[in-house]
């Protein structure tokens, strides 16, 4: 047995699911199902989504986070996801990479928010070496002090998920659907979206370069095996304590009405 083969025997397996243009709601439903019902480690890559969609964290309140009038006018879908964290607007310029792991999958890694975030920071630091001054700034991925990746996690008894939306590119007009959040990282320093964010495409040659390097870096921790979406059994989703949901137009209108009533 070669050293490489011996090394592969020791590393845990990770199933790699590569997708393209899958709607973000469908991706989130899949991720929550795999987190709660699978016993395997997963890396899910979706190289873009099909239409601009706002995605809030589990405790997000539409009236506080989004410009409801324009969102209703332009019929932008709004999703509340099962993980924590802030609000993003995703579209065909967004790349999604998610890790779903058993709590003992990575040697020495405690299943808490900060250690998991640090581990991913190490991983992407290696991935992006040579392409820009990468930093894990509080809980964001940034080049210098410009954010290009937003993170969120969910930790259950024996497993965790860490997922990221990467701004490969974005339309500044879409950012106007989002309010400036009241809860923001210190390094943001109250900068508006256009001064706070940056586009990965200005630093990395191609999406495939980024994705392939990510998969390669994962190989230091896992034996990565490609998996097909069609091979995942289409069982009905189990009853989950908190689930990703698409907010209805009525819910958004009620939030807008409530907001208008509360105006001085």
């Amino acid at each position: 047995m070669t050293l490489a083969q011996a090394r592969n025997v020791v590393l845990p397996c990770m199933k790699l699911l590569r997708m393209s243009a899958v709607p973000i709601l469908e991706q989130l439903h899949l991720e929550e199902r795999l987190l709660r019902t699978s016993v395997d480690n997963w890396c899910i890559v979706n190289d873009r989504t099909n239409r601009p969609t706002i995605v809030m964290g589990v405790s997000g309140r539409p009236s506080e986070l989004i410009e409801l009038k324009s969102v209703l006018r332009d019929q932008i879908p709004v999703i509340k996801r099962f993980t924590g964290g802030g609000t993003v607007i995703v579209d065909d310029g967004t790349v999604f990479i998610s890790f779903i792991c058993n709590k003992n999958a990575i040697s020495g890694l405690q299943p808490y928010p900060h250690p998991i975030m640090s581990w991913t920071g190490q991983l992407y630091s290696e991935v992006l070496r040579g392409f820009g001054d990468f930093h894990l700034r509080e809980n964001d991925y940034a080049f210098n002090s410009h954010k290009f990746g937003g993170n969120a996690q969910s930790i259950i008894k024996e497993r965790w998920i860490h997922h990221t939306s990467f701004l490969w590119d974005y339309d500044i007009k879409n950012m106007e659907y989002l309010k400036l959040p009241t809860r923001a990282p210190k390094y943001r320093s109250a900068r508006p979206h256009v001064d706070f964010l940056c586009r990965m495409k200005e630093y990395v040659p191609s999406k495939s370069t980024f994705i392939e390097r990510t998969i390669k870096s994962l190989g230091s921790y896992f034996l990565v095996k490609p998996f097909d979406l069609d091979d995942i059994t289409t069982e009905p989703p189990c009853t989950l304590p908190h689930s990703t949901k698409l907010l209805s137009r009525q819910e958004l209108e009620d939030a807008y009405s409530s907001q208008c009533e509360n105006l001085p």
């Binding site: 998991i116 930790i155 008894k157 304590p241």
Partner: protein, 164 residues
């Protein structure tokens, strides 16, 4: 983070509950360098505590857990009357960027939830064993607590976890 945990631990260790409306915790505790553990409670491997008082079990998350999670910004609790099962999730806490399931140490029926956590989720950080309690349960099988860890065992469990 160590200083914050030490301060939290000291405050918890010295606080003596004398209000009849609050769970009556013992005046003494074991506290380690990084998190406090209260005598008289039982603990789970997923870092919840339970205090049995007659036919009522009060549940929350430990100082160790709140220290590792960070600032709690949102708490999701079941409704009164909901059923909970030992080892299964009954709710979640959100700290920055992460939701973390909270699991029930006992099976039974939820008879009260801590509504203060809606407006002040940070009570879980500042007072994990007292004001930060999460649910009260009427246990369906009081013998379930016997399989949980006592304070010394839980302290050792946390030390071993942090040593990795």
């Amino acid at each position: 983070m160590a200083l914050k945990l030490w301060a939290s631990s000291t405050a918890n260790a010295l606080r003596i509950s004398c209000s009849s409306s609050r769970p009556a915790f013992p005046a003494f505790s074991i506290f380690r360098s990084f998190s406090s553990v209260i005598e008289g409670l039982k603990y789970t491997g997923s870092h919840e505590w339970v205090k049995q008082e007659g036919s009522v079990a009060t549940v929350g998350i430990t100082d160790h857990a709140q220290g590792h999670l960070g600032e709690v910004v949102f708490v999701e609790l079941p409704e009164s009357g909901a059923a909970v099962a030992k080892g299964s999730s009954f709710g979640a806490v959100e700290s920055v960027k992460a939701t973390s399931d909270v699991n029930s140490p006992v099976s039974g029926e939820v008879i009260e939830i801590n509504t203060r956590l809606t407006e002040t989720p940070g009570l879980i950080n500042s007072s994990p064993y007292e004001d930060g309690w999460m649910i009260k349960v009427r246990p369906s099988d009081p013998s379930e607590v016997k399989s949980l860890m006592g304070s010394k065992e839980y302290t050792k469990f946390c030390e071993e976890e942090d040593a990795h």
